[in-house]
């Protein structure tokens, strides 16, 4: 399926994509991790990226879109350099999150889901982000930045506009700093042989149990 088409992924990402696919007994399991990689490169899931992911895991691009559109973190439209997520769920609401969100909308001059004209910020109203002792809880590109007041939020935005906090808040992609360094040393052929043997044993077990084991 990959054919002669040039990869949409950079050589480095293409290598990481191959490693991710190799981690799973069935390639499709890598679909979501690969979507995270694509967002690391492009910020959102472009049509080309979805075609690439589809080819890598052996499904159609429509199945990639159909899966990705289910998940809040996967964007099928362009987003700003910084996705700012303000949680307004119960604990944060009790901590003033609805007021913070209103302030953020006015300050950034966008509504929830919108992106600022300069392409820097996309504002999201998030569900609980599990940081409930620091409310209202805010994430920027899925990095926790601690409880924010309207004033500290304005300072945060100013810092990001000025190019600050680069170390703390990397670009898109929740896997951008996740690297498996050990455990992939196995010979791919040996892994493939082992997987084939496992699949055979599985099929034999299913045949023996007589119910096919399907869902």
């Amino acid at each position: 399926m990959t054919g002669a088409r040039p990869s949409h992924f950079s050589p480095e990402l293409a290598e990481r994509a191959r490693e991710l696919v190799a981690l799973y007994p069935e390639p499709r399991s890598a679909l979501i991790p690969l979507c995270h990689l694509a967002q690391e490169q492009d910020g959102y899931l472009t049509a080309e990226a979805m075609e690439e992911v589809a080819a890598l895991v052996g499904v159609t691009p429509a199945e990639v879109l159909g899966t990705a559109s289910f998940y809040d973190m996967l964007h099928t439209e362009p987003v700003g350099r910084y996705v700012v997520a303000i949680c307004t769920n119960i604990a944060c609401m009790l901590g003033g999150a609805l007021e913070l969100l209103e302030h953020a909308e006015a300050h950034l001059q966008v509504g929830v889901g919108g992106t600022t004209a300069d392409g820097l910020f996309t504002l999201e109203e998030a569900e609980c982000l599990a940081d409930c002792d620091r409310t209202p809880c805010v994430q920027v590109n899925h990095r926790f930045v601690g409880a924010q007041t309207p004033e500290s939020f304005e300072r945060l935005v100013a810092e990001l506009r000025a190019g600050g906090r680069v170390e703390e808040i990397p670009p898109h992609g929740t896997l951008v700093r996740v690297r498996r360094t050990i455990g992939l040393a196995a010979d791919p052929a040996a892994v493939a042989a082992e997987r084939a043997a496992e699949a055979e044993a599985r099929a034999a077990r299913e045949a023996a149990s007589g119910d096919g084991g399907g869902r």
Binding site: A91, A130, G214
Partner: protein, 434 residues
Amino acid sequence: MAITDAPKIVTSRLGHPDSHTLERYLATGGYEGLRKALTMTPEAVAAEVDAASLLGRGGAGFPAGRKWAMLRKDPVTYLVVNGDESEPATFKDHLLVERDPHQLVEGVVIAAYALQVSQVFIFIRGEFALGLERVQGALNDAYAHGAVGADIFGSGFSVDVVVHPGAGAYICGEETALLESLEGKRGFPRIKPPFFPAAIGLYGQPTVVNNVETMSNLPWIVRNGGAAFAALGEGRSTGTRLFALAGHVNKPGVYELEMAKTTFRDLIYAPVLGGGVRHGRELKAFIPGGVSAPWFGPDQVDLPLGQDEVGAAGSMLGSGSVVVMDDHTCPVRASWRITKFFSRESCGQCTPCREGSGWLERIMERIETGSGREEDLDLLLDACDNIAPGLTWPPQQTTICVLGPSIPSSIGSAIKMFRDEFLVHVKDGGCPYA
């Protein structure tokens, strides 16, 4: 009731700024439980977990040992760890994956050994970018240390552990939805039966799914014995448990407490725990175990933090999150926000949940924003009844998973406890707290 001096089982390292490193882990007894487990038979390790009577810490509170026993008859194929913590106001697994990832890894390898599984997936919520880094980092170091991978500590036992990121969907905390997501699909919960992935799990194969906190208890249980764990707590609620305290308290946070020995009053008011209601205000209501749980009022604050005690009182300990609301809280607004959450997170497979949550959210919104009618209260309860007939506790099931029947909890509680406040919204044409 009191705060006991029970040992810190899963939070012992958190005082150290480098609690996530292999160095700190090894200096504080790390991987000794695994070394001990590898000298035992897998059955003996499983027997210790049975003896501990460890109830799963994900929310349902099913005994971990019994879950494992379902599998020991079959050759287990996969162990999957549920780190998709998304229950509102629950933030304990977030703490464990970021701050003590080696403890999780050690627990996972112990469980894999007891179950004789050679492939583990740790599913971590996609929004936990740092948590994903920390767990993968811990695994990299643990592989290098010989604690994961081939021939662990020279025992001949081998297991591979893969970190898998979620992508933002509350429903993936439901274990069959989690497996679908791990297979690269939408997180649609699977039709039951089978009720447990032990029968048909990942890739259709027998699978055990356990929560992060459950796994994190295992190193201590193996080191100290299941009996030592079972000696803590009371009745079925053995050991310690993490309670995530949020909302209007002076000191919100995650507290490890001996189960059933401590009360909600201790948790909320004790100076070393919650430190009382914020701004010196009065307690109006609290949610005892995640937003799926019916609410409690101040008269129930002396209940112990035990699974059966809270269950008998008509709610649940659930995910171990306790949300405190002070007397300045609008109950309509609070239950509207919870309902909006369920509406956003319904996967859409089942009509009562998909349509019902949207209806309920819109009715709640119009009451809160001043366009409500008195008959809306009956309409709300009627719609709730269509999702969970009879509005019993635990709720009747009309849907594939428990998300739908969880929706009425907050609305039912708010109407039961604060009906007059709903009527004030209707009469005054708006929220008296706004």
